[in-house]
Amino acid sequence: MSDRRSKVASNGSLIEMRAIRKVYDTGKHEVEALRGVDLTVRKQEFLSIVGPSGSGKSTLLNIIGCLDTPTDGSYRLDGEEVAGFDGDRLADVRNRKIGFIFQSFNLLPQITAYDNVELPLLFKGAGARKRRERVEALLSQVGLADRMDHKPTELSGGQMQRVAIARALACEPDLILADEPTGNLDSTSGADILHVFEELADAGNTVLVITHDHAIADRTERIVTLQDGEIVTDETR
């Protein structure tokens, strides 16, 4: 792992956030969810963002994942300023650069595991043959080669999260973004999924996990703690 760390130190940065603010206007009064966050993440880092609920974790995740835009500040993703992008350009950024893994899996219930993994490739415009090869390889990689034609309701929680991981990896993203990935799983499946994350990190992926569970954060190489919309600690171990 020390090899990996030295490799990370020499890499360029993937995320560069400067003075990011996010203000929600609830009508009656304004709520400042993020108060000037500076965050740099290098390529191939494996880090976690922790904090109690209401600390601004989810808001930060949404902005990092291009699911929302900041009120103020600069956000460069892989050298590209994305803070001012509109809907469809952000959609393309999400499609090519970010792989999401959600707490509640967020698989489309009416289609099969195969079709779910294929979706990002369809949006990207990949050819039929390439799509099939990629989907089959990914589902085999997460150990679900024999479950491709199953719908999400016919899978266990751990299996669903594996499908979601395969889907997140479909377009070879620069950043894997996970939001409480083990929150809806029993401890065995949770440990299983964490193991998958470690493997992904070791394979050279940049993995960012958002969690309130320190047991999970302790497995990562860097822990960023958020409180009241500000970064209070940032330790690399």
């Binding site: 699911l67 469809d88 950024v93 949006f123």
Partner: protein
């Protein structure tokens, strides 16, 4: 590729609950049936009105000799004007705009006899051109009066279908001999059934028509009761009327601006009125049908709105995976169009079948009122209007709710429970 993707996504993700779908399709089908029926009946009624307004004669002028109202060339007002049958020729010769003209003499009560049957009915003497001007189309096997009949003062008659049936019953009248005031006449033709809205001197179906030369000789008349003429085109009617007064005013010495000397009724104006009326009726029926369809459309919009709300989270997921707005909206709009299309096909099918059935009943209808309603016609404009309306409804019902869903930040959509 993009359109293909939208279709693919539609195929794999469309999932409206069956019950909702049945309700929507039924609502649209119902609206479509009503608009098809209303427009078809409107179309049928328009045909009847148009046929009826030209039943008397298409853009013809009917002139009644009257009394002068103005002093002219030393003659006092109040002088009676009478026209001669020969004036028909005079009009055609001296007015280039007038292509046909005919005098008309009549008696209200002539005795028609055939076998043991006796009737007291109207008999009219006319020039041969009268037949075409006044839409006297003979049934197969017969003809209208011709120039030779006129020249030779033949004792031949052309009869309305009703009087012919009254007199001859089931027999074919053509070639049969009957008597008018005890003078034998031969039937040369019977008029085809027609819808006639305007009349003077009673409907044509009850008339017996003979050459005006024969009428003069038989009844000892000199003057015509009515003069009928037709200009080359309907637009020339006004010019023709002006010339008519000039020519006859010159001959009979009355002021050409004295419109009471000879009264004229032309059918151009009434045809225009009828045309406007039938357009009005069509618009009215169309609006009623359109509103009914709109209710169905509101149903679709409602269902789509509910379906999209139901799937808000799914939409958020698609957006998180990098779906552009059109990839999210496209399948939803397609879904809405598909529902509308299905309802429309059912509605047009059922509506068309009902129209066909009613048209069949109408063809065999006996009552005047049913006849007047006409045959409902499912025409191309009706179909095009319906399809256009359905298409717009389907598109709007899918477009607006889905645009609303994709216009908010995906973070917010994903948070929706």
């Amino acid at each position: 590729m993009r359109l293909g993707l939208v279709f693919r996504l539609f195929r794999s993700t469309a999932s409206i609950q069956r019950k909702r779908m049945i309700l929507t399709v039924t609502a649209i089908a119902w609206g479509t049936i009503s608009i098809v029926l209303l427009l078809s009946f409107g179309e049928g009624l328009k045909h009847t009105l148009t046929a009826g307004s030209t039943g008397l004669g298409e853009s013809i002028a009917i002139c009644w000799p009257g009394e002068t109202q103005k002093d002219f060339a030393g003659f006092p007002a109040g002088r009676e004007i009478s026209l001669l049958p020969g004036d028909a020729d005079l009009l055609k010769k001296s007015i280039p705009e007038i292509t046909s003209a005919s005098g008309e003499m009549q008696t209200w009560s002539a005795q028609l006899s055939y076998g043991r049957k006796n009737l007291n009915k109207r008999v009219v003497g006319v020039h041969p051109e009268w037949g075409e001007m006044r839409n006297q189309v003979p049934q197969a096997g017969g003809r209208f009066l011709n120039e030779l009949d006129q020249e030779l003062k033949r004792r031949v008659a052309f009869m309305g279908w009703e009087i012919a049936q009254d007199l001859f019953g089931e027999e074919d009248p053509v070639g049969k001999t009957f008597t008018i005031n005890r003078v034998p006449f031969t039937v040369v033709g019977v008029m085809k059934d027609k819808i006639q809205m305007g009349t003077y001197g009673g409907p044509d179906k009850n008339n017996t028509v003979i050459p005006i030369s024969t009428f003069e000789a038989l009844m000892g008349r000199r003057f015509v009761s009515v003069m009928v003429f037709k200009p080359e085109t309907p637009e020339l009617m006004e010019v023709a009327k002006k010339r008519f007064y000039e020519v006859l005013g010159g001959k009979y010495r009355f002021d050409p601006t004295d419109e009471r000397a000879i009264g004229i009724w032309d059918t151009v104006e009434s045809q225009r009125l009828t045309a406007n009326m039938s357009i009005g009726i069509e618009i009215f029926l169309g609006i009623i049908g359109g509103l009914t369809l709109l209710i169905g459309g509101v149903g679709v919009a409602n269902i789509m709105y509910a379906a999209i709300t139901h799937r808000t989270r799914e939409i958020g997921v698609l957006m998180a995976l990098g779906a552009r707005r059109s990839y999210v909206m496209g399948p939803l709009v397609l879904e809405s169009l598909a529902l509308t299309f299905l309802g429309g096909v059912i509605g047009i099918g059922v509506g068309g079948a009902i129209v066909q059935g009613l048209a069949y009943l109408q063809q065999n209808a006996q009552s005047e009122a049913m006849k007047f309603l006409g045959e409902p016609t499912f025409s191309l404009p009706v179909a095009a209007t319906t399809v256009l309306l359905l298409g717009s409804i389907g598109f709007i019902a899918g477009y607006f709710p889905s645009r609303r869903a994709v216009s908010i930040q995906p973070a917010e959509v994903l948070r929706y429970e």
